[in-house]
Symmetry: C2
Subunit: 180 residues, 2 copies
């Protein structure tokens, strides 16, 4: 994993892909699968929604940090399977043969097999909506991997891989954040 | 536009596409383009983030309702152009030759040219984060249109169209909401 510019890290969440979130603090680190996420600021600041039905929720509340890992479409079966079992019963890194890597600023591990990883601090928790607000502190990328297409949940058990790219940079020029 | 089951309306937002949001209350109805959105509940409940830099923000705060319209990839140039100008200066329905249709529960109009429309009530506004929480009251679909691929913002002025579909319904069976 190589360092990735923090001011561009929002570009991994902006398209709304399925993500993994790693947390530490229990007997072993845990991973959950999330689709209910959004960008809040280019800084970058993110939000995601989860609740007590996810074992990771308590670790987020208690330790206030996590890693957002960005999987690609070749990992979709693993990612969905991670979301279908609980860290209360299984060590997901072991079960799914994923490799935890030491992060720089947080105790939660990076996931080596993912395309990108973003170290995040929980800076707010809007309990009545289950919304966690996260500020990123570092981002990492695996530039060498071939498959770079992200994938998106439809919500009915089906998923959509990234398709063709379209540029509207000229129309958006005045609105793009600096350096992006 | 035909009625679409409200319990499935979240499937339009879950993949994280670029959306349009229509509001009423000014001299003419307005439209803004948003990418910072997420699902909060299957009911369905949504969240999106915007701020005073968007002319529609005041209408959302004052009238507490809107329509979320789902454009498809053939509309991407129009959708991005809608996001690059302000309703303070231009009537976007006129400028972009879009057709406002009367909604059932809200004063904000549906957008006829979009694939789907969701009538929403603003039920909370988390001002310090610019997060609007919306509960949907009705959903509509144009089943006859050929292009159904949504598109996603990367954040750098480029966009990604929906690609291939993958089913993991068997793995997810226990987690799918009823009837979806």
């Amino acid at each position: 994993m190589k360092p990735f510019p923090l001011n561009k890290a929002f570009t991994f969440l902006e398209p709304g892909p399925v993500i993994l979130v790693s947390t530490a603090g229990g007997e072993y680190p845990n991973i959950m699968t999330l689709s209910w996420t959004m960008v809040l600021d280019f800084s970058p600041r993110f939000a995601f929604m989860t609740g007590p039905w996810n074992y990771s929720c308590q670790a987020l509340i208690k330790h206030r940090e996590c890693v957002i890992a960005i999987p690609t479409v070749d990992m979709s079966k693993t990612v969905v399977s991670i979301g279908a079992c609980s860290g209360a019963e299984v060590n997901k890194f072991e079960k799914f043969k994923l490799t935890p890597l030491k992060a720089e600023f947080v105790n939660a591990p990076l996931i080596k097999e993912c395309y990108a990883n973003i170290e995040c601090r929980v800076t707010d928790y809007i309990k009545n909506h289950g919304i966690f607000v996260l500020d990123a502190e570092a981002a990492w990328i695996d530039e060498k991997r071939k498959e770079k297409r992200l994938f998106h949940a439809i919500g009915d058990g089906r998923f959509i891989a990234d398709g063709e790219k379209i540029s509207h940079r000229k129309i958006m020029a005045a609105k793009l954040p600096e350096g992006v």
